[in-house]
Amino acid sequence: MSDHSGNSGTSHSPTTSGSETPRRNFVVEGATVVISLIVGVVPFAAGLLSFLDPLFRKNQTPSKHTKGEQGGKTEMVRICSLEALPPNGPPQRFPVITDQFDAWNFTAQQPIGSVYLQRISDSEVRVFNTTCPHAGCSVSCDGQAFHCPCHNSSFELNGSKRVSESGRENPSPRALDTLEHTIESGDVLVHYQNFYPGREEKKPKA
């Protein structure tokens, strides 16, 4: 490595004895290792701190849009009026319209998801999240049953896992996810939540 150095004159490089000299300086070597670690870790740690931001992020509704609302955790979203649902009709798909947080953007009253509503009696409504609990695709409904277009999960209109006549396996680990809801002065209000797919228990995403 030092044999081409022209006029640099490395005619007498330290012989291999250099590395064998008893004057090995452990203090310098140790300090070098420590300092190198520090200078290497700091920029990486700075990046890592920000990288982990999504784990700790809590969305804060801008003050203009919090007026008159209690900052309650279970926010009920109006989906439609009860009148819009014919009694004993097939499930109908509705968008869920509420405030949307997308990193730096905040948009009030945006469609952020969808639900199936089915009126089963005068005052009773079934509410399902449209997301398949198997792997998170969006299920469709033909009036007879719910079908997932991805891996052939299917569900009865009451949300339970369907046993196919052909005996084909239903891969969903659980029934369609029902959502908390109330009917207030003729409106259907839903507490919209998404749940982790692929597991038996229904665990809401924070």
Partner: protein
């Protein structure tokens, strides 16, 4: 155990040989502190790569997202300000280290045979680093980065064929999405890859040639490990600590208000390490010479240095030239900074020197005001984001464009400031970015006497109790603050105030105070809401209105609600209210206001045809809201106070001043429209412009 693993690994990879080669490189004459610059540069670059890739995870290139995502990194992301700060200031560390590294190479004569190629590679690395700095400066898409980079890319078009280069760099004729996507691809992709490639060659070639120094008997040779590595690492630590201190002290890198292609930005400056080029341009006979020829010749000379060194005294010529270039660049940098901080103190003798002195002071003042205004706007945008979030159309279109506190001063400066001032009691207007009036100077640089332009009222606090009590003060009414240079200075109002209000007894003084309260309450200022409510409850407002008609005879000339007639003096009904101000600005010469007595106040929107008007309904609304301070405290406007003019009203106002003034004689109509606008204020707040624009559109259709 470890030994066995090392052996296993070495059998398969031969890593020991590489490590030995790396660590046990011979250093003739032993380790030295001056050798650390190269390692520091590598360390700085690695830091940039690490922090840059992390920033990449949060940055969004695009003209509606770039500033917004950087704002989020800077203000909302956990540790984001620190990450961005390290990236920003480490880049500057690189730019400082580069010339140091180069000077060391030149002084050590390490650029001559056989190391020419490695020297040239070093110059390429210098260029790549500077290009990284230039491309990175634009990415936040703030005013500062936008305008500084715009100048750089405009200058690219100067050499023959430069138009095409410019178009390719910018991604089209004008700055936009493609400028950002291209700059980002350059900054995070092309340039770093090139830099890594050239750096690898640079280091490999350095290894091949070794260190230039000679061994001597008093300085024995040493291996790279551990002493030189220790020195390198320690120097990197010092650099890192310095960067971290600066980052913490400044709370990260600066971010200005978002880029606005339509707004002049008086503080457009490149990053400090480009200031010498910026300053050079000011001294150059032409842009082509200053921006292309001189820097090109200097760079060409640097490239030729290894060849020049071959001739006799060539090395000395190189050293002297390099030092001269560096001193020149340093001088220009300092000069640029001095010009921007030039003060008016120490006026020289009358003559050209005095004129130059004031020109420089004016320029520095403009620069500093632009900076202050930018800071002020940034803080305001922060409030807006806190208040309503960043809409999808971005901060500029969604927040800045609609905000009276930002747009008001701009519209005022463009349309009103040539006559009106806007200064608080201490004479400060700068905080909102409105330039103060400057004295006209003759060719000797002396202030021209008796040339006071403008002289229309100071509109700071218009309609407030402070303003109205000033107007009704015999000592103030003829000031520039009020009737100033207008014909009203000698008018009936002025003589009334001076004659009838000059010697009041104690009881009359109380009544005058009540008049002030009552008249000011007509404005329904948000900031006086509590005062007005209290005064109303105490009966002061009713008493004031009575005093206006019975005690002082105001309504002999003015109209107030159901009393008095229009035609001789401005309508006091809703004086200073949003509606009143809007109509006044639209047409001050209307019968409801000054009529034939109007003195030079232009009608800004008197025509039925909006295209004929000087100001659009949107602009007038923003101006009015700002003058009244409706949006100063976001969300503070009490629910029952009318603060907004609805777009329909605006359109009507622009369209039918006649019809409006007829209905205005009926005070009931006024209160009705107030309730309408009240409802609007609740639902729309400051982002009513979409509808306002629709209003404007429907007006034009």
């Amino acid at each position: 155990m470890i030994k066995a693993f090392e052996q296993w690994l070495d059998d398969r990879t031969g890593y020991r040989k590489s490590v030995d080669e790396a660590l046990f490189e011979n250093i003739p004459g032993g380790s030295r502190w001056v050798y650390v610059t190269g390692s520091m540069l590598v360390f700085a670059f690695v830091t940039q790569a690490i922090t840059g890739i992390f920033l990449w995870m949060f940055y969004s290139a695009g003209s509606q997202n770039a500033w917004e995502s950087v704002y989020w990194i800077q203000n909302k992301m956990q540790g984001g300000w620190f990450l961005r700060g390290v990236h920003h200031y480490m880049a500057q560390g690189m730019v400082i280290l580069l010339p140091l590294h180069m000077v060391q190479v030149i002084f050590a004569k390490a650029y001559v045979k056989p190391r020419e190629i490695n020297y040239w590679l070093g110059l390429v690395l210098l260029q790549l680093t500077l290009a990284l700095g230039l491309t990175g400066y634009l990415l936040p898409w703030d005013q500062k980065g936008y305008w500084a980079t715009k100048v750089a890319t405009e200058l690219m078009s100067l050499p023959p064929g430069g138009e095409y280069i410019q178009k390719l760099v910018v991604g089209g004729g004008e700055y936009g999405h493609y400028t950002l996507t291209r700059f980002f691809a350059m900054h995070a992709g092309v340039l770093p890859i090139l830099l890594i490639g050239v750096l690898a060659l640079h280091v490999a070639m350095f290894r091949r040639h070794g260190i230039t120094a000679h061994s001597s008997s008093d300085r024995p040779d040493e291996y790279f490990w551990p002493k030189q590595v220790f020195k390198d690492a320690a120097a990197c630590l010092v650099l890192l600590i310095a960067v971290v201190i600066i980052v913490v002290r400044n709370h990260g890198a600066e971010l200005g208000p978002p880029a606005e292609p339509t707004e002049a930005y008086g503080a457009a400056r490149p990053e400090w390490y480009y200031l010498f080029l910026f300053q050079l341009l000011k001294h150059s006979p032409s842009e082509f010479i200053g921006a292309i020829v001189i820097p090109g010749v200097a760079m060409g000379f640097l490239f030729l240095m290894p060849l020049i060194a071959k001739i006799q005294y060539g090395h000395i010529v190189n050293v002297v030239t390099l030092v001269t270039l560096l001193i020149g660049a340093g001088y220009l940098t300092v000069e640029a900074l001095q010009h921007d901080s030039y003060t008016r103190d120490g006026e020289p003798e009358a003559g050209p020197a005095r004129i130059l002195h004031h020109e420089r002071a004016n320029a520095a003042e403009d620069f500093q005001r632009a900076k202050r205004t930018a800071d002020h706007e940034y803080e305001r945008i922060k409030e807006l984001i806190q208040f309503q979030g960043i809409p999808r159309e971005g901060a500029r279109a969604g927040l800045v464009y609609n905000d009276p506190e930002i747009q008001g001063p701009r519209i005022f400066t463009r349309n009103c400031a040539s006559c009106h001032s806007y200064q608080d009691a201490s004479g400060q207007s700068d905080i909102v970015g409105i330039p103060g009036r400057r004295a006209d100077r003759d060719e000797q640089g002396n202030v021209k006497a008796s040339e006071e332009a403008g002289g229309a009222p100071n509109l700071f606090g218009f309609g407030s109790r402070m303003w109205i009590s000033g107007l009704l003060d015999k000592d103030k009414i003829q000031d520039r603050e009020f009737f100033g240079d207008t014909i009203h200075k000698e008018g009936e109002m002025a003589s009334f105030v001076q004659d009838s209000l000059s010697e009041l007894d104690a009881e009359q003084k109380i009544k005058l105070e009540q008049v002030v309260k009552a008249l000011s309450a007509e404005a329904q200022l948000v900031s006086q809401h509590q005062l007005d409510t209290d005064a109303d409850a105490a009966g002061d407002l009713a008493a004031g209105r009575t005093a206006m008609s019975e005690e002082f005879g105001c309504l002999d000339c003015h109209k107030l609600h159901d009393e008095g007639e229009l035609g001789s003096a401005p309508d006091l009904t809703g004086y200073g209210s949003a509606e009143w101000l809007y109509q006044f600005i639209a047409n001050a010469g209307h019968e409801r206001f000054y009529g034939d007595n109007n003195d030079r106040m232009p009608a800004f929107a008197a025509s039925d045809d909006p295209s004929q008007n000087l100001l659009s309904p949107r602009e007038i609304t923003l101006l009015v809201r700002w003058l009244r301070g409706d949006d100063k405290d976001l969300g503070a406007a009490p629910q029952n106070v009318a603060t907004t003019i609805t777009p329909e009203e605006n359109a009507d106002a622009a369209e039918q001043p006649e019809a409006d003034s007829e209905t205005a004689t009926d005070s009931n109509t006024d209160s009705d429209s107030d309730t309408d606008s009240d409802a609007d204020a609740d639902t729309e707040g400051t982002d009513a412009t979409a509808e306002e624009e629709q209003g404007a559109a429907s007006t034009s259709s």
